[in-house]
């Protein structure tokens, strides 16, 4: 029986992951929904639905995606409530108030690199009563910590709402070491939906379908094989080829990502630039876009060449890093970080 449970949480716009010191790990879609009316409540038999369940039953729900661009939307009580429900759900999944007897929960939560203090303060306030102690860190930093990649490394964490960059220089990253772009998975979805609607005006396609297709087939550069998906056209399930739309949509993130990567590299002290260039790590769901690391390496050729590694299982990298931080933080520090 543990008196203290350490958790690392990657609170994402699209998905949130939790890794706990009791060995449990879970990932959920960052959606929270409340039944729209009495009928929906009766059908769903629940006051609140979270994650995939919420998405699946969205027609009966007041559905919220509480994190916009990786941050808690300020000013919306419903979104604050949604993020609290999401966090409680994540903690329930790893056994808090359930099968373990954890008395005290110490959480490390990753937020976008460019989150400012007020974002963090707002998140801290929202987590009151849910965890006992809280350490908020930049998400790419949590990734770097988990991988022991703390020196001469660049992390590019492509999530749904944001793409976070962080150059690790053996210190806690400052504002100068980090960048956040709002060009990320969601912007690819928007672009892909638009392109498909343009090419197949009669097809009935939603952003949820597009997101599924992207997660299965995203790529930049040359396609491995044609991407053919099924969508209702005038009510009839029809196969449509979306190969070129997928490529165009995925490649929209390349120019800003390349520009930011090179800009950050240029700010590294000259003698360390080569080491950072050969130590670039792609994480987040966007890191799974096929051909992306090759495309970034091709762009690096212009500045002396480099190496970009994609993490094969990026889902828990952030939360595992958070957990490592939570376990390593000294007892005395946790006492000061009461939520």
């Amino acid at each position: 029986m543990a008196d203290i449970l350490h958790v690392g949480i990657d609170l994402g716009t699209s998905r949130s992951a939790i890794s706990a010191s009791n060995g449990e790990r879970f990932v959920v879609d960052s959606f929270v929904g409340w039944p729209l009316d009495m009928v929906a409540r009766k059908v769903l038999k629940r006051d609140v639905l979270i994650g995939h369940e919420a998405v699946s039953n969205r027609t009966m729900l007041d559905l919220h995606r509480p994190l916009e661009r990786g941050l808690l939307k300020e000013g919306s009580e419903k979104d604050v409530e949604a993020v609290r429900e999401l966090l409680k759900h994540l903690l329930r999944l790893v056994g808090v108030n359930g099968k373990t007897d954890a008395q005290s929960v110490r959480a490390v939560v990753g937020v976008p690199a460019a989150a400012l203090r007020t974002n963090k303060q707002y998140l801290r306030n929202s987590m009151k009563g849910i965890v006992d102690s809280l350490l908020i860190v930049s998400e790419p930093f949590a990734v770097a910590y988990g991988l022991d990649a703390l020196l001469h490394t660049m992390i590019i964490d492509i999530g749904a709402g944001t793409t976070d960059f962080c150059v690790m220089k053996g210190r806690y990253p400052t504002e100068e070491d980090q960048r956040t772009l709002t060009v990320a998975g969601d912007s690819i979805d928007t672009q892909l939906l638009k392109l498909i609607e343009e090419r197949y005006p009669n097809a009935n396609v939603t952003v949820f379908m597009v997101r599924d297709w992207k997660e299965k087939h995203s790529f930049v550069g040359n396609p491995k094989s044609p991407i053919v998906v099924t969508a209702p056209v005038k009510g009839v399930p029809t196969s449509i080829d979306i190969t070129s739309e997928m490529r165009t949509a995925c490649e929209t993130i390349l120019p800003p990502v390349v520009e930011t990567m090179i800009d950050l590299l240029a700010r590294v002290e000259p003698e360390f630039q080569e080491r950072v260039r050969t130590n670039i790590i792609l994480s987040g769901g966007g890191g799974l876009i096929r051909g992306l690391s090759d495309a970034l390496e091709a762009a690096l050729k212009g500045v002396g060449g480099g190496k970009v590694r994609s993490m094969e299982d990026p889902v828990f990298i952030g939360s595992d890093g958070g957990l490592a931080l939570a376990i390593d933080a000294p007892e005395g520090d946790w006492e000061k970080l009461t939520a």
């Binding site: 460019a114 400012l116 203090r117 022991d148 400052t174 800003p256 520009e259 520090d333």
Partner: protein, 344 residues
């Protein structure tokens, strides 16, 4: 890295992460924008102007024949290099009586405006407002070039945050301005008010809080590429708003707005004077010197969009901005007569 050094680095970054969190809990603003730091930098920069008169005052009070010695002289000598970079006005001894450093403005020192930062809004992948065949980024860059020539011809040193069509983050613009040791910062933008395409006008902003939702929206749009939210800034800026340069920025904004409106009204009788306003644009927040953001036109209005596409109209805008800057510089050239401390 060896295992031992990895552990050492881990301990260090963890300690720093905890320290940052404790700052957040205490509500302290980031170190980079803490008013204390900013004021310390301002004081350091202005130290020569303070120390030199004090040293000379001490010299004169000792009958003029004693050598300047001690710490004050040493400081003046060391800092003299900085002093040479800026024009030095008559070194009359100043009586510094202020009790709060936040009240001291450049009025207390014989500062002149010599180096100007021009910031052509947007650029590269960020076109800003657009109309048929015209993008804000191109207009602002063109005005930047024209204004630069005018200022240089008049003896000003000019630093531009961008000289071509490239993306430059807002924080980098501010950093460049701060590193350049410039005296004032002028950001050039063009408005677009899509809901009121019939209106067109001129407005100039300086740093300050606003309760106007439209201005909040505008600042949010201009700040969007920075990654900061307006909510972040509201709390962050409580201290910064009390900054000494606010009055100076207001003065600069007023002269610029007046020149812009009177000059451009002559070309377009329908042009409205939307006045001098306060808003928390990032480039105004993060710069250390008096800073303004001029919305020199309105691309959402078809008539004005057509005028902005014409080089001669853009030259008029550059002329107006030049005269505004010139008027501010003249008013601030030499020791201020009104005294030592500004009770703003």
């Amino acid at each position: 890295m060896r295992a031992a050094s990895v552990q050492r680095v881990k301990r260090r970054v963890l300690r720093e992460a905890v320290a940052e969190n404790l700052d957040v809990i205490r509500g302290a603003p980031p170190r980079a924008v803490r008013t204390g730091n900013r004021l310390a930098r301002i004081w350091l920069r202005r130290a020569p102007y303070l120390l030199l008169p004090l040293a000379l005052g001490a010299y004169l009070s000792r009958g003029g024949d004693a050598e300047i010695g001690g710490a004050a002289a040493a400081s003046a000598a060391v800092l003299g290099r900085t002093d040479l970079e800026r024009p030095r006005a008559a070194a009359a001894p100043l009586e510094i009586t202020t009790t709060s450093i936040e009240r001291v403005t450049s009025a207390a020192f014989p500062l002149a405006v010599r180096r100007v930062v021009l910031d052509a809004g947007h650029g590269g992948s960020d076109p800003g407002a657009t109309a048929a065949n015209v993008a804000e980024k191109a207009i602002t860059l063109d005005i930047n070039h024209r204004l630069r020539s005018l200022l240089q011809r008049d003896g000003f040193e000019v630093v531009s945050t961008r000289a071509d069509d490239r993306t430059i983050a807002l924080r980098d613009r501010a950093r460049l301005a701060n590193d350049s040791g410039s005296d004032i910062f002028v950001s050039i933008h063009v408005n677009a008010i899509t809901k009121h395409t019939a209106s067109r006008g001129i407005e100039t902003y300086y740093l300050g809080p606003t309760s106007d939702p439209k201005l909040t929206q505008l600042a949010a749009a201009e700040n969007s590429v920075s990654g900061y939210s307006l909510g972040d800034m509201r709390k962050l800026l409580d201290g910064v708003y009390a900054d000494a340069r606010r009055d100076e920025s207001h003065e600069l904004a007023s002269t610029v707005q007046q020149q812009l409106f009177t000059t451009l009204r002559a070309s377009d009788s329908g042009l409205e004077n939307w006045g001098v306003k306060r808003a928390p644009f990032i480039v105004l927040v993060a710069t250390d010197m008096p800073a303004v953001l001029a919305e020199v036109g309105c691309l959402s209005n078809a008539q004005e969009a057509a005028m902005l596409a014409r080089p001669e109209y853009r030259q008029k805008i550059a002329d107006a901005l030049f005269h505004g800057i010139r008027a501010y510089a003249s008013a601030n050239d030499g020791p201020k007569k009104k005294g030592i401390a500004n009770h703003g």
